[in-house]
Symmetry: C2
Subunit: 362 residues, 2 copies
């Protein structure tokens, strides 16, 4: 089969040039006579790979020197525990619950302290971002937590919440590197790489150095302490070397594409094509309030909520090479995830296909 | 450069046929039009990959039905916390400390209960396995812990300790699949895959079902509960999909090689070539008591403990294509790790090279 257009919410599409390079280097990375999978993580050749990956990420995101970049394992779900374990000093954090992942983070944090839900959009199936300009931030909150882009529901924070001086912590798993970000607005940013950056199995934590503490409760596993990982430059134990290597190749690709400002333009173009079509379609409609629409994840349904028609659409789209368009069960319908690596023609062709489907099934 | 003979302690050599297949399938896995890195972990195509990997591992190790196989993240180091968190019911465990990794496991377990060191070989730089036929096993011990093969020191348990009826828990990171194992002798077996099986970033836990509990202390992260992972068939969150795929290819390769009995013969042959040479060499000598020698990791030094000569050896070996032979800093000298994927000719050629070096530098 030819390569498909992969609209998966994650793991998802990676740049084809990256995959080609990985295939070419599989048996012999740059004359080392080894695959990156076979290298000692203490070797010079791997040290260059992880250092260069970090440097490129720092360049792309303009990460200040007083932030550490950690390449870890366990996914965002493990960070839902690690963050309160490491950052709760007063034992209090405030959560803005805009979807399933923020909710899981809030629930997990309750194990480690007082985790307050200070805002939520659950009343309307998380189809909008609540007004966060004047929330009841706790006086003793160690941080305010958001999920910056909500993969399942297709919403995103266009404006950051007013944290009233408290630290902001953000899960950026599904929109990292999709646009410029001012790292200094955050105490901690983290992302599972498997949407916009690399293969599942790497989670990156960008954390302000002064937040890394050693006086944690006895029960915190050594591996979950940011201090352990920061002191060892992510090499306390064997890291997910091959995943980090692929992330590094993707960082180079984003640089080649022009960096985050260029990625934003690219992503806005793609999203506009799809949203413009949805806004005028008589068959399909987006599920998200216009002002909060994500550039990355576009959920949509049939205007008549016709489950049979939606199933027919997904089936025919799959056959035509547009795969993983089925929506998340909690929203239903369809979802097109159009991450960095999705080319414009992927979205153009999808819209062409949707138009044709709409005509044929009117 | 041509492919080298890689004697790294881990990550280490993988079968070349596996790497070739991975390279070929990189852009299009079996007609799916996607890389395994790009697939949704909830897709049928990935489900087949993880299910088949588990089935092949079960076949190879003859894992009984009442054991769960979990594909997790965080490496063995994370299991050092997860095991006591999950298995300490009485809050007591006994540790046989035969090297750095067993020691780390023992130290980490002290956070979660009474972790007793009931035997150790630290007095002689862990160069032997202590007599474990009649140890002071704690009456209320939840389990007895061993590291089955000691990567750094090159020792291995030829006989299992007498646990006096208590559960046995074993770290088999560096000798998994190197020989048959009777899974029923253990309550739990775990291994980081990056030595004998696949790319770093996957740790496999084989645990008897009745040991998986839900009544754990509040502080145990959801991700570290075996119950979470067992109930979700290792798909509670996105697993390290690509790593699991490579592990699956290696399981197939081990099957093709004839399974674990054949691997044992293959490994014994290779180890014999190296140990036989060391035993008669006037320049080099193994560091481990003969009866406890590992089939996987062979540390050796110069008889005169000549650091300059050792450095010269490592340098010239590297230039000749025998890489990663430098010993661990805690033992010094050299170490040849000869995992499953190391072909016999790799060891034969290394011994030829050593003989030549010995002659030239006598």
């Amino acid at each position: 089969m030819a390569r498909v257009y992969n609209f998966s919410a994650g793991p998802s599409i990676l740049p084809e040039v990256v995959l080609k390079q990985a295939a070419e280097e599989m048996l012999d990375y740059k004359g080392s006579g080894q695959s990156v999978m076979e290298m000692s993580h203490r070797s010079k050749v791997f040290d260059d790979i992880i250092k260069e990956a970090e440097k490129d990420l720092r360049d792309l995101m303009k990460i200040p020197d007083n932030y550490k970049v950690l390449f870890l394992q366990g996914g965002a779900s493990q960070q839902f525990a690690a963050i309160p374990m490491n950052l709760m000093k007063n034992g209090v954090a405030d959560f803005i619950v805009t979807g399933q992942w923020a909710k899981k983070a809030w629930q997990e944090a309750q194990k480690y302290g007082k985790a307050n839900k200070i805002a939520s959009s659950e009343d309307k199936t998380f189809s909008y971002i609540p007004d966060c300009s004047d929330l009841p931030i706790s006086e003793d909150a160690d941080y305010v937590y958001i999920c910056h882009n909500n993969t399942i529901y297709g919403t995103t924070f266009k404006e950051l919440p007013n944290t009233k001086g408290k630290l902001l912590v953000a899960d950026m798993s599904s929109d990292i590197l999709s646009q410029p970000v001012n790292v200094e607005d955050y105490g901690l940013i983290f992302f599972g790489v498997q949407k916009n950056v690399g293969p599942a199995g790497v989670v990156v934590v960008i954390v302000r150095e002064d937040l890394i503490r050693d006086d944690l409760p006895e029960y915190v596993p050594t591996m979950l302490k940011y201090k352990t990982q920061a002191d060892a430059d992510s090499l306390y134990n064997t890291p997910p070397c091959y995943g980090i290597y692929i992330c590094g190749l993707v960082f180079k690709w984003v640089k080649d594409m022009g960096g985050l400002s260029a990625m934003k333009i690219h992503n806005e173009k793609k999203a506009k094509i799809l949203y413009d079509y949805l806004d005028q379609s008589k068959m399909f409609v987006g599920t998200v309030v216009e002002k909060d629409r994500s550039l990355m994840n576009v959920p949509f349904v049939t205007r008549t909520h016709d489950a049979d028609l939606e199933a027919k659409f997904v089936k025919e789209a799959t056959e035509a090479g547009f795969v993983n368009l089925k929506g998340h069960r909690s929203v239903g319908g369809m979802r097109a995830s159009i991450y960095n690596a999705m080319p414009i023609e992927g979205v153009e062709k999808l819209v062409e296909f949707m138009k044709k489907f709409e005509e044929e099934n009117a």
